[in-house]
């Protein structure tokens, strides 16, 4: 007996929802690394996600067709036999499929890091408002360019991707979701770890007072460049996972509202420089969004417009109200625990026992 929600089986709905949350969690956490921890307002987040999906996808298709020796007749992306042929080869071979996913992720990470490196040039030199315009414009440029220029990823027709999850058979979507969840978890743990490390304190120092950080000998230019490269590589890898999940790259899907604005909403509502808040916000955001989208079909006869757009209105208002009432987000930034609390307690106990064993000498203040 299946649980139904607006006529959709929950067993199908939950993997789809989990995949969206995981992908957005990874992108939002990478934005949090830039915006929350380092103070770089990246208004071009969609640029890196699109670049990852487009260049990673193009690499994966060209690479597989080259390795498997598939001859393409005519235009590369117009050949309807290409993707089915690749699918037949990799379908029964989980190891090969996983290898292809990892290789594509690696290529996308390199592309993303390269774009991040390029971004750091304006990011270090321009004021916030000019930087926002440059990044927004660049994202839009890549979108229009890839939409028009067919040789990279099929232009306005888009490109069908081979399915590296096909070996899971009917559980394909669950497997794809699992991969996305693992990726998001790794990103989360990595950024959390960075935030707790001495590097994390350097990032906050640069964010809060650049001059002071420089006076203390921190190379702020290099740190910002590295942060942008890492965050962009994460976004690009998320783009690849989106492409593999959908088994398709459609350029218009990477509009700024989807991959720049929604991650910003998640980070601002969740809490800048607080990854727990961002994770909660991403979960609430997409659960609410997807339930509304589901209910759309059930209510289609009663409401004369697309319910998606109510979400736009509500989220826009929520963001503005949040900025007014609670600019620090749902969860505020907390002082980081550089050591686990158990280890701190241990140290405390050992110091206490040492102290009691050797009482402080008279006339000298205790440590």
């Amino acid at each position: 007996m299946a649980f139904l929600i607006f006529g959709v089986d929950l067993a199908q709905f939950i993997p789809v929802l989990a995949e969206t949350i995981a992908i957005y969690l990874a992108i939002s956490i990478s934005l949090n690394l830039e915006l929350g921890y380092t103070g770089i307002p990246n208004f071009g987040k969609a640029l890196y996600v699109l670049a990852g999906a487009a260049f990673g996808g193009a690499f994966a298709l060209h690479f597989t067709s080259w390795v498997f020796g598939i001859t393409v007749s005519g235009d590369f992306y117009q050949d309807l036999n290409l993707v089915p042929t690749i699918n037949v080869v990799i379908q029964g071979n989980p190891a090969l499929s996983i290898g292809l996913i990892l290789l594509t992720l690696l290529v996308a990470a390199v592309v993303g890091a390269l774009l991040g490196f390029l971004t750091s040039y304006p990011a270090i030199r321009l004021r916030e408002d000019y930087l926002a315009m440059v990044l927004l414009g660049s994202a839009e440029f890549l979108l229009y360019f890839l939409y028009t220029y067919q040789p990279i990823i099929g232009g306005s027709f888009g490109a069908q991707m081979f399915d590296p999850y096909a070996w899971a058979g009917p559980n394909r979507y669950i497997l794809a979701t699992g991969v996305a969840v693992i990726f998001a978890l790794l990103v989360y743990l990595y950024v959390e770890r960075v935030a707790r490390s001495p590097l994390g304190r350097t990032l906050r120092a640069i964010r809060d007072n650049e001059t002071a950080a420089e006076a203390l000998g921190k190379d702020t230019v290099a740190v910002r460049r590295n942060v942008l490269m890492i965050a962009s590589a994460i976004s690009a890898m998320a783009g690849v996972l989106i492409a593999f999940y959908a088994a398709d790259v459609s350029v218009p899907a990477f509009q700024r509202i989807n991959y720049t604005f929604w991650p910003w909403v998640i980070v601002i509502i969740g809490g800048m420089a607080n990854n727990v808040g961002v994770a909660i916000a991403a979960s609430i955001f997409w659960t609410a969004y997807d339930v509304i989208v589901l209910s759309k079909n059930a209510l289609a006869n009663y409401i004369p417009f697309d319910l998606n757009y109510l979400v736009y209105i509500v989220l826009g208002v929520v963001l503005i109200v949040m900025l007014m009432v609670r600019p620090s987000g749902m969860l505020k930034e907390k002082p980081t625990h550089t050591l686990p609390s158990s280890r701190i307690r241990e140290l405390y106990e050992s110091m206490k026992s040492r102290k009691s064993a050797r009482p402080p000498e008279e006339g000298k203040p205790g440590n």
Binding site: E128, T148, W264, Y309, I313, L315, V317
Partner: protein, 314 residues
């Protein structure tokens, strides 16, 4: 008399882009926040014009004052209800920018809902691809907008020049732009200046929007798509000069219309398919090479140094 279609559309687009860029420049000069929701005013103008045309049979030329009022009212509302309270609470520039993004999204939703109701309840347009055209009048086969849009722009430029240079309010406005605190101390009502400039900005966007369906298809996301071209115009114009915005808007209009067509004659017809990329390219190039705008380039000195270089090389 037959005129080149590309020339006609370039002139019209250059005029409309100029109108939009003037508005964006006005708000940036006064409030110092790049308004990513400027496209909203254009979209509202499109739908005002379309509603008036469909339900009351009014030509956009007649309904454009209503578009002006609607765009202006929304712009003032946005300034008074969103940006002013936020900056009073000490929200950073980044926060204000993302708030304008949010306003854009809100209105993207509102206009989409309206367009959906139009399509499903009144059976106007198509609910999937909401694309409308409104017929323009023609004289001797020339589109009326070919005359009307540049004429409106010219009248506006003269009007703004007179307002800024010849009236007391214009002096107050320029003072508020130069130094808001000092102007406030001298008794200028800076807030009123800001409200008026936002009203003008929204209104001009609304008018440009109401003219737009006569030359290109409009949809609820038209404004969001145009925003980069509008920014390109303002940036080429230097973001701090209204007359620069006219130059910038024209550059963007030419780059998106005439230039690809001319280049296509040299490089082949594939160039024209990139006309949508051109405004963004103009913006990126302008930001990289003339970030303060074309009007700040000292052309005379540039030419002189080049001559000097020539002489030195000789």
């Amino acid at each position: 008399m037959a005129l080149d279609q590309v020339l006609v559309s370039t002139v019209i687009f250059a005029s409309l882009y100029s109108l939009m860029s003037i508005g964006l420049t006005l708000t940036y000069m006064t409030t110092k926040v790049p308004n990513f929701a400027h496209g909203t005013f254009i979209t509202l103008g499109i739908y005002m014009g379309y509603t008036a045309f469909h339900f009351w049979g009014l030509s956009p030329y007649i309904s454009s004052p209503f578009s002006f009022l609607l765009g202006g009212a929304v712009a003032v509302g946005m300034y008074l209800l969103v940006l002013r309270p936020l900056s009073a609470r000490g929200v950073s520039l980044v926060g204000l920018m993302i708030a304008t993004f949010a306003v854009d999204t809100i209105f993207l939703g509102i206009v989409n809902v309206y367009a959906g109701i139009l399509a499903n309840t009144y059976h106007v347009g198509n609910s999937l691809t909401i694309i409308y055209f409104i017929a323009d009048f023609t004289i001797d086969g020339i589109k009326g907008l070919f005359v009307a849009a540049p004429a409106f722009l010219a009248a506006l430029a003269v009007g703004l020049y007179l307002l800024l240079m010849r009236t007391k309010f214009g002096v107050a406005m320029r003072a508020a732009v130069e130094n808001a605190d000092l102007a406030g101390i001298l008794g200028i009502n800076v807030q009123r200046v800001y409200v008026v400039s936002w009203f003008l900005a929204g209104g001009l966007g609304g008018v440009a929007g109401s003219f737009l369906p006569m030359i290109a298809a409009g949809s609820p996301s038209t404004g969001s798509q145009l925003i980069v071209a509008i920014f390109a115009g303002s940036i080429v114009g230097g973001l701090n000069s209204i007359f620069g915005a006219i130059v910038g808007g024209s550059v963007v209009g030419i780059a998106g219309g005439l230039l690809p067509t001319e280049l296509a004659m040299v490089f082949g017809s594939w160039v024209t398919s990139y006309s949508s990329v051109m405004p963004v390219l103009v913006m990126v190039v302008a930001l990289l090479f003339v970030p303060k705008g074309l009007t700040t380039v000292n052309w005379r000195r540039l030419l002189r140094t080049e001559k000097k270089v020539e002489r030195a090389s000789v």
